[in-house]
Subunit: 146 residues, 2 copies
């Protein structure tokens, strides 16, 4: 736990899956389905992790990508681990659509248009959680933070 780190102090979004090492959350961002995969421990860089941990984290990232592709059929998936502001390992997994506010620019770039009214389907969080449990096993949700 590092005081003042949003990913140490909280889950970071609506939890979809979690094990002892990392968790998947649905982010509160204006791109429906935008997920984050957060390493539980406060570590800055991928190469700070042991190779097996690195591989596990990427397997979770790719399971999220697969679930988002299957559920939302985006034009493209964007993956990024930046962490300049919050140097606690977290991956952005972002389903992009041709009519979203920024396409084809990155979501951190300049808006290209007003985004369409594309609400988050109410059943998407549960559906993604089921997909992740099927792909990754049940994790250890009971052991997670409250």
């Amino acid at each position: 736990m590092t005081n003042g780190c949003v990913f140490c102090d909280g889950e970071g979004g609506v939890r979809l899956w979690r094990d002892e090492r990392c968790r998947v959350v649905l982010a509160d961002e204006p791109f429906p389905g935008f997920c984050r995969v957060v390493w539980n421990a406060h570590v800055a860089e991928m190469t700070d992790l042991a190779p097996a941990d690195r591989a596990h984290l990427m397997d979770v990232v790719f399971a999220v990508e697969a679930a988002l592709r299957a559920r939302l059929a985006p034009a493209k998936i964007n993956l990024a681990s930046l962490g300049n502001l919050v140097p606690h390992l977290h991956w952005h997994v972002i389903p992009r659509h041709r009519d979203d506010s920024h396409f084809p620019q990155p979501v951190w770039g300049t808006a290209q248009r007003p985004g369409p009214a594309r609400p988050l389907a109410p059943d998407l969080p549960d559906a993604l959680a089921r997909d992740l449990a099927a792909a990754l096993g049940c994790g250890s949700a009971a052991a997670s933070m409250p």
Copy 2:
């Protein structure tokens, strides 16, 4: 080969390493040491690759991260696979410094200041190429495109 795809039609930068599956290039970007890891075949998403290929590509990405950290001691490494404009798998591996033009914003965001005059060290490409050969083996440079 896909006509009109910059990563099918060309190497994408100064080659630092290459094998049968992917290559590492030094990009022509105003962030010295900005590398890209490009999958050789025209594939759009990580989950379009077989798991073993996915793992290989990430191993190369992490070898680049390790080399950049050792050589440049950046404040942060940024990793991203976006591909909205060029849907041919390529990873950006970007060493970020606190005084670079965009820090702490992503390089695709709004510039925060004029970037410092931080020239690319003339010996960096050779040094990175040696680091990657040491970490990944010699690849297959001879088999690459001219």
